[in-house]
């Protein structure tokens, strides 16, 4: 299996017997929340959906899996979301099978989904790969597989001699996780996670260097940094996690 990267998403496609296109955290309907926070912009849902549809057309997947946070507002559904969500789902269904690994922002979305579309919150294995939002402990059935996760909004900062060359660009983190804290079951192969950057284009993001060991999620806490590898959104291999160049302004 070799993943295919779509930098305009960012999105990643994984193909074994079937082709699964995964995106994370599109946060449709975020503008209503931005509005409350003093940032007044028009809904960008249509543009975001258009971007997604172009990737679906290009990659022609059997499934689109959204790794959680399809919608934005918690704990209720806003007027904007009520108005936009049916149309968004309809457009996607026309082109491909749709699955949602629900995230912490997806409350109240059940009514809009068809029965098969909603995966368990603790994740599901499709064609040998685990798909999961990433905000809780994954289901045991995912252990020993590659788990594709959202939730963390990873970004990469690259530094050169002068200072910063690239700040806050979306990136992927691939690493083994230590499942000992969750289970006594031993798996044949190690459990690995691929943290997928947010599809939502205004996401602030979390520096990948800060994710392993952080308390944002059980996944982040369980990551074994020495196994980590970092990629840019187009699949460019940056470096092993342990060799990422630190911010020159920070402590040595």
């Amino acid at each position: 299996m070799e993943p295919e990267f779509y930098p305009t998403g960012p999105a990643v496609a994984i193909e074994r017997r079937e082709k699964v296109l995964a995106i994370a955290d599109p946060h449709f309907g975020v503008e209503a929340d931005l509005h409350r926070k003093g940032l007044h912009f028009e809904s960008r849902s249509a543009l975001r959906l258009e971007r997604l549809m172009e990737i679906i057309e290009e990659s022609d997947p059997d499934y689109l899996v959204v790794l959680g946070d399809l919608k934005h507002m918690i704990p209720y559904v806003t007027r904007q979301e009520k108005a936009e969500m049916p149309q968004i789902l309809k457009t996607i269904r026309r082109e491909t099978e749709f699955r949602l690994a629900p995230g912490n922002h997806d409350t109240g979305l059940e009514h809009y989904l068809m029965q098969d579309e909603l995966l368990p919150a603790s994740g599901a294995v499709i064609d040998g790969t685990g798909y999961f939002h990433g905000h809780m402990i994954p289901d045991e059935s995912l252990f020993g597989h590659l788990i594709v996760c959202g939730h963390h909004h990873p970004v990469v900062n690259l530094y050169d001699d002068v200072g910063c060359a690239l700040r806050g660009t979306p990136g992927y983190l691939l690493a083994e996780v230590d499942t000992k804290a969750w289970t006594e079951v031993q798996t044949e192969s190690p459990t690995r996670v691929l943290l997928v950057p947010a599809f939502y284009e205004l996401a602030g993001g979390m520096d990948v260097r800060l994710i392993p060991g952080s308390k944002v999620s059980p996944i982040a806490k369980a990551i074994r940094p020495e196994t980590g590898e970092v990629f840019l959104k187009d699949g460019t291999y940056v470096a092993p996690f342990t060799e990422l160049r630190p911010d020159p302004l920070e402590a040595k």
């Binding site: 940032l39 912009f41 806050g168 284009e201 996401a203 402590a251």
Partner: protein, 902 residues
């Protein structure tokens, strides 16, 4: 009957009586000329030296008409000034007149109490003294709007200031909004001398007729240039001499820090005060009073004294360093000698080659009555957005056609055309307003937006400058200054001292005092007065002709300038002129000598730096002043490389390259956010957490908001047209380039001390503050032998060789208070790795105290100084102050490598 009596007889009898009571038996020239015209009701711009009775020449005819005609209820006249302090000053001056004439006068601005505001609403004064922003607020109230409908006369004071700013553009729309309520009214502008008074007239009145009544300041000016000497001590003595030889003098400086430094040097004299914008209002008012009453004979001040605050008789104006702008010199020296017919005596004290030549040029242009033109903002889109939402809130709904008509009447917007509809479309995207059938309709949040956006003055946060050496705040900086100038390692001037930035935190700039500063330093709070293109070019011409005889200056100035030019000749250096650009190789880059003023040099410097860095793939640093810019380059690049890039430039590419270069800068982003706020896209208190600001700002790509940010940037920070002009002259060989080694003139920009005064003994002051801090440092003495004794004390109280009172050992560690728990933990039998490490460190610490005594105690008390760095300090064998300097070095290393403060 002479002209004076004739004029007096035409005035309202009540006014005549009051004039007599006041002992007003003569009219000044401006009064004689302006009053009859204004009584007729026409619009006018009045220009005359400050204090020559300009205010009365505007107010007497207004009073006359107010007394002679009946007026509807409401504010009959508005007197608008740009500053609250001017409002207060004006109120004090007019109170008596109002009482005598039976005209009710009142002030309304930000400081006005709720109680007074209520009184003004229920019982409106006949004459209201106010600011542009307060007028904006008044439109929001129903009752006050009704009072505005009574306006018959509007006087705008210091209109040249307003005409050059967005505040003024906003005011010009506000005046048209008053016309909508009250119909046309008489407009009177009071201005300082400017090169284009007709334009100021248009700014005030739009297409309506407006005459200019001007009494030239120039013919009454008696100006000269003197060389002030090279040392600060000598310069201060000369200032003192100037003050002593006159009854009352104003000494203007270009920056607050220089004013402070001079004030400090003269602090022992009781008859001199300092006056600048960073002092509290009480201090300033007190200084003004003392000067007016003759208690002081000298006032050291900055542009804070330029505007017309009345401080009584001034005999002599001294300008320390070149005033840079002709209008500024005329405005400042125009304050002296107001008795009719008396000349205004002013003297520039110049301090170096650039400064002397520039002063000569500025004086000549001033005596020829050639001040700079006022440059108004044309079509600032954020002002349009602001005023459209104001109109929408005021009326609930208004037709786009009507909006266009209102803007069309303002000079700044008369050609706005399609722009207005573009702005409306953009505002709609941010839900500030909505449109329907050609109407703009207000939305719920528009009112809140408006109350937070009454002013076009950018809402700048203040950043605290924090000195890590004394661990005390030093002062504050404007956010825009921090964004455009400050980065780690940058050097700037504040409080008359030079500082180096160690680190930037949100709202906090960590600094240490710097000693060796290179280049002309940016200084505190936007005080940089740019040298205009015209002045810099004439300085270039003067360098070429060396015709010093045609300029007014003392012999020492000429001798000094000549000496510099002779040295250039002796060294076979080439002097840059108005026709010659000289590129010189310096240690770390290339100095480009170009006599084009700050804003043009900034533009060309930025263009060259981005072209060089694109071509050679390396970062290029840039420092700019009026006569040269310095490009910091990698070693392999030299003057001919820069020259070649310079010659490849095409005039039409300049603007595009600059936009590209600036887009990534934080200065541009700051301007963009400011504009976005005015369009209602971003609230003043927006929460940016979890948002990528950079990507959010990308949403403005290609919008009118982005265009406005660039327009403003090019208007305020760099001169694109001037830069194009230079490139054009280079293309058609009106200008040439040459390359050379670094010359004395080229080096001046890098190493001169222009506008930078370092108070004597600065280094000493730092050492003293460190000594004091260390003596007061809390420490814990801990016996590493018996481990049973510890005692908290201050470094200053520790004995030369501390001894444990329990076991008598001299193995005492000097610990920081936060290390105390760790020491207690060492009593355990088994230790963790971490504790073992700590034990080792403390043993080393104690051994050092045992062998080096007090020196070790002091070194170990330094911030972040552990036994290892203390050992390094002791190994230098430095004594006395040098010992403390070593501690400072160690602390600085610590500060730069650790982020530990909150």
């Amino acid at each position: 009957m002479n002209a004076v009596e004739e004029l007096r007889n035409t005035l309202h009898p009540k006014l005549q009586a009051v004039l007599e009571k006041r002992g007003f038996d003569d009219f000044s020239e401006i009064q004689l000329r302006a009053i009859p015209e204004l009584i007729k009701g026409g619009n006018a711009i009045l220009i005359a030296p400050t204090g020559s009775g300009k205010t009365e020449s505007a107010l007497l005819p207004v009073f006359h008409n107010m007394l002679s005609k009946a007026h509807p209820k409401g504010f009959t006249a508005l007197y608008i000034t740009p500053l609250r302090s001017l409002n207060r000053d004006m109120m004090n001056r007019l109170e008596w007149w109002g009482k005598e004439l039976g005209i009710k006068i009142s002030v309304r601005h930000g400081d006005t109490t709720q109680n007074d505001r209520r009184k003004q609403a229920t019982n409106p004064p006949d004459l209201l003294i106010t600011t542009p922003e307060s007028i904006q607020a008044m439109f929001m109230g129903k009752v006050l709007r009704k009072h505005l409908a009574g306006v018959r006369y509007v006087i705008v004071d210091e209109i040249h200031e307003l005409a050059a700013s967005k505040r003024g553009c906003q005011l010009s729309v506000a005046l048209e909004r008053i016309v909508e309520l009250a119909g046309d009214f008489q407009r009177i502008g009071i201005s300082a001398t400017v090169g284009n008074p007709e334009l100021v007239g248009k700014f005030l009145c739009g297409k309506r007729p407006c005459q200019v009544v001007a009494v030239p300041v120039a013919k009454t000016l008696d100006l000269s240039v003197r060389f002030a000497g090279e040392g600060f001590g000598e310069q201060v003595k000369l200032i003192e001499k100037c003050i002593d030889s006159h009854t009352s003098s104003l000494v203007f400086t270009n920056t607050r820090s220089v004013a402070e430094a001079i004030g400090n040097a003269l602090v022992s004299r009781e008859d001199i005060d300092v006056h600048h914008g960073s002092l509290s209002r009480e201090v300033r008012v007190d200084a003004e009073d003392r000067f007016r009453n003759g208690q002081t004979r000298g006032m050291i001040c900055t542009s804070s004294m330029e505007l017309g605050i009345d401080i009584g008789q001034i005999d002599h104006v001294v300008q320390f360093n070149s005033p840079r702008e002709v209008a500024r010199l005329m405005q400042r020296t125009g304050r002296a000698g107001h008795r009719i017919g008396a000349a205004s005596k002013g003297m520039i004290l110049a301090t170096g080659f650039d400064d002397i030549l520039e002063s000569m040029v500025v004086v000549r242009l001033a005596t020829e009555n050639r001040p700079e033109n006022v440059r108004p903002h044309i079509n600032p889109a954020d002002v349009i957005a602001n005023q459209i939402s104001a109109l929408a809130v005021e009326r609930g709904e208004i037709s786009i056609e009507n909006i266009e008509k209102i803007f069309e009447r303002c000079y700044c917007f008369e050609n706005a055309g399609e722009l207005i509809r573009d702005v409306i479309a953009q505002m709609e995207k941010h839900y500030l307003i909505r449109t329907e059938d050609g109407m703009v309709i207000t939305k719920a949040r528009a009112r809140k937006y408006l109350s937070l956006n009454l002013s076009m003055i950018a809402d700048e946060k203040k950043c605290v400058i924090f000195d890590v050496i004394s661990r005390k705040p030093v002062g504050t900086l404007d956010e825009s200054f921090v964004i455009s100038w400050i980065s780690s390692g940058a050097v700037f001037v504040a409080r008359g001292q030079v500082w180096r930035v160690l680190e930037l935190e949100e709202n906090k700039v960590m600094v240490e005092p710097a000693k060796n500063a290179k280049g002309e330093l940016p200084s505190w709070e936007g005080e940089q007065i740019p040298v205009p293109f015209t002045v810099a070019m004439e300085v270039g011409a003067l360098r070429r002709t060396q015709d010093f005889a045609s300029y007014r200056s003392d012999e020492r100035s000429v001798t000094f300038a000549q000496k510099t030019l002779d040295e250039m000749k002796k060294n076979r250096s080439i002097t840059a002129t108005d026709k010659l650009i000289v590129l010189e190789d310096a240690d770390e880059g290339v100095v480009v000598n170009l006599c084009a003023g700050h804003k043009v040099n900034e533009a060309i410097g930025r263009v060259l730096s981005i072209l060089i860095s694109a071509r050679y793939g390396s970062a290029v640093g840039i420092e700019t002043n009026a006569y040269r810019f310095y490009l910091r380059l990698p070693k392999h690049l030299a003057a001919p490389d820069v020259e070649e890039v310079f010659h490849t430039l095409e005039p039409e590419h300049v603007e595009g390259i600059l936009q590209l270069a600036l887009k990534k800068t934080s200065l541009y982003k700051w301007r963009l956010v400011q504009a976005a706020k005015k369009f209602g896209a971003i609230d003043a208190d927006a929460d940016y957490e979890k948002i990528s600001m950079n990507r959010l700002l990308e949403l403005f790509d290609g919008t009118i908001v982005e265009r406005e940010a660039f327009r403003e940037l090019f208007f305020s920070n760099m001169d694109v047209e001037g830069a194009k002009e230079i490139v054009r002259r280079l293309k058609n060989h009106e200008m040439e380039t040459r390359t050379s080694r670094l010359s004395v003139i080229g080096a001046q920009g890098l190493f001169s001390e222009r506008d930078m005064v370092t108070p004597p003994g600065e280094d000493q002051a730092i050492i003293e503050s460190v000594k004091h801090r260390i003596a007061e440092q809390d420490v814990v003495l801990a016996c590493m032998h018996c481990r049973k004794w510890k005692s908290r004390t201050k470094t200053g109280r520790v004995a030369e060789q501390p001894v444990c009172p329990v076991c008598g050992a001299r193995l005492i560690a000097v610990l920081k208070p936060y290390e105390e728990p760790m020491f207690l933990a060492l009593k355990k039998k088994t230790l963790t790795t971490e504790e073992k490490e700590a034990e080792k460190r403390m043993m080393k610490n104690a051994n050092m105290v045992l062998s080096s005594g007090m020196d070790a105690v002091i070194a170990l008390s330094g911030r972040g100084v552990g036994p290892d760095s203390a050992a390094r300090i002791l190994a230098t064998f430095a004594k006395g102050d040098n010992f403390y300097r070593e501690i400072l070095k160690a602390e600085r290393r610590f500060v730069q490598t650790h982020q530990y403060w909150g």
